[in-house]
């Protein structure tokens, strides 16, 4: 059912590259990919969480410390060796108890804040299919990507390299579904083009509304240009019960420091240098003796 892309076996087209100008979009083309998380069918079994770790050969954290107890949740959250986790929250709603269980990971924003914040050319890339990926060989370990991220996703290893979901770009490029999607026992995860996923999401949304979830909604935050992970939320008016920000967008501060401040900085620093040079050629160094010698 899912649209399979195979062009990646040769190389994936790039849409955005951190701290660099946009690559030529006329070379490679690809469909925008997306994963739909149907919360109404999710049983919170963590098969996706386990499968993710297994596919990526991760050794996820084992929380045995006495002070930390997170109940059904495997731990407090993402970690460099845990690219996704299931959040559990019990919420008493008007219509009764809701056990809000959410798959949480990198959202693969169409307009990725991490990429925007990243100062190192090529360390964060966005393929034309929408997958946002890290290239550790170009990463300088500044952790700006975390500040850029509206979803608090990247986690750093001991060498300050960030880790996160890479949408199983290796599998996807070889015609396989992302590991979490394939594993999901109840088909709460769907994979395909963004277009297909939105159609499917809206179809499922109708079903949900018929079942009485009149506030159900599709979560595809426009503040980041839409996301590669979209969610079907039974209680769409309250995304926060699922741990998702109501208004997700890149902080204006990031735009400020990447945009105007950089420009002003260039002007000021180059200007200062130029000023000093002008002083030198117009007036010359401030030497001793001019005045004194005159006086003398």
């Amino acid at each position: 059912m899912a649209t399979v892309t195979t062009e990646g076996t040769v190389g994936l087209g790039l849409r955005r590259v951190s701290a660099s100008k946009a690559p030529d979009q006329n070379i490679k083309k690809s469909d925008q990919l997306a994963i739909l998380v149907d919360i109404s069918s999710c049983i919170g079994c963590k098969a996706c969480e386990a499968a993710c770790a297994q596919w990526h050969d991760l050794k996820p954290p084992l929380h045995t410390e006495e002070k930390l107890f997170t109940g059904y949740q495997s731990g407090p959250g993402l970690a460099p060796n845990l690219f996704m986790y299931m959040r559990f929250q019990e919420v008493e709603m008007d219509k009764g108890l809701v056990w809000a269980i959410t798959k949480y990971q990198c959202m693969h924003c169409a307009d990725p804040g991490c990429l925007k914040a990243c100062p190192s050319p090529g360390a964060i890339i966005q393929y034309t299919n929408g997958i946002v990926d890290f290239d550790h060989s170009k990463c300088i370990g500044c952790k700006f990507c975390l500040s850029g991220c509206p979803f608090d996703v990247p986690r750093y290893d001991a060498n300050n390299k960030p880790w996160k979901c890479n949408f199983c770009v290796d599998r996807v490029s070889n015609g396989l579904e992302p590991m979490c999607v394939k594993t999901c026992p109840t088909n709460a995860l769907h994979f395909g083009t963004k277009e297909e996923m939105l159609i499917r999401a809206n179809k499922l949304l109708e079903g949900l509304k018929k079942r009485g979830f009149d506030k159900a909604a599709v979560y595809d935050p426009p503040g980041v240009g839409g996301t590669g992970y979209i969610y079907l939320l039974p209680h769409g008016d309250k995304p926060e019960i699922y741990g998702l920000p109501k208004e997700a967008s890149i902080s204006p501060l990031v735009s400020l420091w990447k945009g105007p401040v950089k420009l002003i900085g260039s002007i000021v620093l180059w200007g200062t240098l130029l000023g000093a040079f002008l002083q030198l050629i117009l007036f010359g160094p401030i030497k001793v003796g001019k005045k004194e010698k005159k006086e003398g």
Binding site: I43, K46, L62, T64, F69, E90, L97, W99, T186
Partner: protein, 799 residues
């Protein structure tokens, strides 16, 4: 399961009660989600906790642990009172019209059926039979009005279970109950079906079999048995628990549900006569072939030593007076009556109730052999006592290969036998069970050859026809299980259907004259001469109903839905075009359809669909159950409330009560809360705590308790709490939750405490053994322990 995993998607209503499939069978539960997505089916979850199944259900009802039968009684009553049953179905496909002997009675005041012997704690079940006519056929009243017909008796019996009584017993508000009852009753329509999914949540009671019986009654009333999307579906535990049950891992059976001889059956004929039922109605009465299966088994096991002269070596089989199931094994062990134990892949210490009793029992063994991939609590039991030098048990711990390291088949819960191939080598010196069986058996055999010993005949004559007797292969064994001809087998016309030495095509050709050998009649047909059908992987599903007849092999005879003849009405036409599955083709004079008909293909529609029963009809009244022909509500052995139906008989009257010094039961004054144990999806029994990946998902043993109770006791999330019962205590992290609410039971506030079981003394992650606290109380029919619903108290140990 009467139906299969894939068939769940054909349901119009999914009732989950006594199970938590989202948690314990997630990949099977997908078909329930599919039913909702594709057919708009509703999912109803009835459970003591708002669990993961409840999280995606349309309706959730919180029930008090141990009160499920009251709920079921209420449903049966609702369906009968509101005439929502499928009348044609129950008239022709069930024993509703049968007249019951007048020696049967039930006294609602005492809660006892007729024939109870309080001394032996047993019923005289012979009092509950049908009235038979001179030909030995059951008398029937097709109008269902005879006061002693099953239908009328049932109607009267369940009339006590009014919605008010249901509320008082279960804590489920009347309106909620009625809302659900209405939805369930609607599936009595011919074009609708309800599937029921259950598991240990129902079997883990001292009345577990009665619970399942009550659902069978409800589903029969609604005409939901034998139809697509229907059935009473036991979601079984381990990967091959179905296989090991079929193969008689339990001592009360021989492979294929044949019976071990009783001491009183001193000849083979005695035994076969006693176990070959006589039809009491138009029935295929398939067990009439009992003798064929039995002799074929004896031929498979004892080969040439099984001759007509020695009753096919009938006396090689041990004869029993009494089934020694797990409860007896553990109790005898504790009483020092067991000398040795061989345990292949089981962790008896961790997984059975009252760990203290088991631990002391193990210490009384002379020797213990444990085979497992990991160092288990059972093998290490002597390490946990104060002075191991006082434990005189000799213990072996043998490293075993695991599923990926050997070839063979598993039978899943839907009865489908599938093949797995070997992918890897076991680590170090770990060995698979084929090798160990070959090695051990040849050693035992040669000891008897050399030294002689007590009754060596069955040992010396046991067939062991393997190329390498020290290392049998899976297909060699499957060959013996499937069965083969010892002489040319001919049909009625004299044509040879199976040549001598060839494997039989199925159990239909088995003989009772010693010309066929078959180690497992029920699986016969899985490995015909043409090849191993467990390996077949044809994914075609022409009907779109998820039948997949070409994938694996489903016993019996590759049928995917049991009793599927019932998917057609008494005249053989499908009940509804929507539920068309098997139907009678008038022109050809045979049954046809999407599946293998579960009846002889040319047997006319007046024969009953329940071919394994002498009635040919489903039993609404089952005299075979030791605790009564109709399921009645009894309280668990530890209950916070009295049994308002019959306070004098609060508990199941035929349950064996063990009375050793460690068989302690608590009372609500000391132990005020109801406790229940269960599993979480991330773990499997006491096994996955040895595995890093699963351990990381839920590393800590926790205790779930209602937020209100936590507040009362001053307990916060993450505090360490101790749950104690009359047997012992277990500690874990407190998880106060909104998902378990206090219930009002007959005016009394009752709290439920939940204890997941998966931790122990060994493994990557450790924690308390939940079975330290569970009671040594067992279902009288199936010997299943009562893990769901016992009494406890909770206290804070450490903040």
């Amino acid at each position: 399961m009467t139906n299969g995993w894939n068939d769940i998607k054909n349901a119009d209503l999914v009732l989950v009660m006594g199970g938590n499939p989202a948690e314990n069978h997630p990949c099977g539960f997908k078909w329930a989600i599919k039913a909702r997505q594709e057919r708009g089916a509703k999912i109803i979850c009835v459970d003591p906790r708002f669990n993961r199944t409840a999280a995606v259900s349309d309706i959730f009802l919180q029930i008090r642990p141990g009160s499920d039968l009251a709920f079921m009684g209420g449903l049966i009553n609702y369906v009968i009172q509101n005439k929502k049953y499928n009348e044609e179905y129950i008239k022709h496909f069930t024993n509703a019209p049968y007249i019951v002997k007048d020696t049967y009675s039930f006294d609602p005041a005492t809660g006892l059926f007729s024939g109870y012997d309080p001394e032996k704690r047993k019923y005289d079940q012979s009092l509950w039979g049908y009235e038979l006519d001179e030909k030995g056929m059951a008398k029937k009243d097709m109008t269902l009005t005879h006061p002693r017909c099953v239908f009328q008796l049932m109607k009267e019996f369940y009339s006590r279970y009014t919605p008010e009584v249901v509320e008082k017993l279960t804590g489920i508000p009347k309106e909620k109950f009625l809302e659900v009852a209405k939805l369930i009753a609607e599936t009595g329509a011919p074009d609708k079906s309800m599937t029921h999914l259950y598991a240990l949540g129902w079997t883990h009671h001292s009345f577990g079999v009665q619970l399942i019986g009550s659902m069978a009654i409800l589903q029969l009333l609604l005409g939901n048995i034998g139809v697509p999307g229907g059935g009473v579906n036991a979601l079984r535990g381990h990967s091959n628990v179905q296989g090991m049950t079929d193969l008689a891992g339990e001592g009360r059976f021989l492979p294929g549900y044949l019976k071990p001889p009783k001491a009183s059956e001193q000849t083979l004929k005695d035994h076969i006569d006693a176990n070959t039922p006589k039809a009491v109605d138009l029935s295929m009465n398939y067990w009439s072939n009992y003798g064929k299966f039995y002799v074929s088994l004896l031929k498979a096991w004892f080969g040439n030593a099984a001759t007509p002269e020695n009753e096919f070596a009938y006396h090689y089989l041990p004869k029993i007076d009494k089934v020694i199931a797990m409860d007896e094994i553990l109790d005898r062990m504790y009483r020092g009556k067991m000398e040795g134990m061989v345990s292949i892949g089981m962790n008896i210490l961790a997984s059975n109730p009252n760990v203290k009793k088991i631990s002391e029992g193990l210490a009384k063994l002379k020797w213990l052999v444990v085979m497992d991939p990991f160092e288990t609590e059972m093998a290490n039991f002597w390490k946990y006592v104060q002075d191991p030098s006082k434990v005189q048990t000799e213990v072996f711990l043998l490293p075993s290969a695991i599923f990926a390291e050997k070839e063979g088949s598993y039978t899943n819960s839907g009865r489908v036998i599938k093949w797995k191939y070997k992918a890897a080598e076991p680590p170090g010196d770990a060995k698979d069970e084929f090798w160990v069986a070959g090695q051990l058996w040849n050693r035992i055999k040669s000891l008897y050859q050399k030294e002689g010993g007590k009754f060596p005949d069955p040992i010396l004559n046991l067939t062991w026809n393997f190329k390498n007797p020290y290392y049998p292969t899976a297909e060699e064994v499957l060959h013996e299980m499937n069965g083969y001809a010892l002489a040319d087998i001919t049909d009625e016309k004299g044509n040879v259907v199976v040549k001598k030495g060839e494997r039989v095509p199925g159990f239909a050709v088995l003989k009772d004259d010693g010309t066929t050998a078959c180690g497992m009649w029920l699986y016969s047909g899985v490995f015909p001469q043409s090849g191993n059908r467990a390996k077949s992987t044809d994914l075609s599903d022409p009907s779109g109903l998820g039948v997949y007849a070409g994938y694996g092999y489903s016993w019996p005879a590759n049928r995917r839905i049991l009793y599927n003849r019932a998917s057609a009405d008494p005249s053989g036409k499908p009940w509804s075009p929507k539920k068309k599955y098997i139907w009678w083709n008038e022109a050809e004079g045979k049954w046809v359809g999407h599946d293998v008909p579960d009846i002889k293909p040319d047997l006319t529609p007046d024969y009953g669909p329940f071919i394994m029963l002498p009635e040919g009809r489903g039993r609404l009244f089952a005299a075979q159950l030791v605790d009564g022909p109709f399921p009645e509500h009894y309280e668990p052995f530890e209950s916070p409330v009295e049994n308002i139906l019959h306070p004098k008989t609060p508990h199941n009257p035929v349950v064996k009560v063990y009375k050793s010094d460690l068989d302690l039961l608590g009372t609500p004054d000391k132990f005020p809360y109801v406790a229940t144990t269960y599993r979480v999806v991330e773990h499997f029994h006491y096994w996955t705590k040895h595995i890093y990946g699963t351990s990381a998902l839920v590393p800590k043993m926790f205790i779930e308790l209602p937020e209100e109770l936590a507040k009362e006791l001053g307990i916060k999330a993450g505090d360490i709490v101790r749950v104690s019962t009359a047997r012992g205590s277990a500690e874990g992290y407190a998880l106060p939750t909104k998902r378990i609410k206090p219930l009002v039971i007959n005016g009394k506030k009752v709290y439920t405490v939940g204890i997941p079981i998966h931790w122990g003394n060994e493994g990557v992650v450790k924690g308390a053994l939940a079975n330290m606290i569970t009671p040594f109380v067992w279902d009288p029919n199936s010997q299943t322990p009562e893990f769901k619903g016992f009494l406890c108290k909770v206290e804070k140990v450490k903040a």
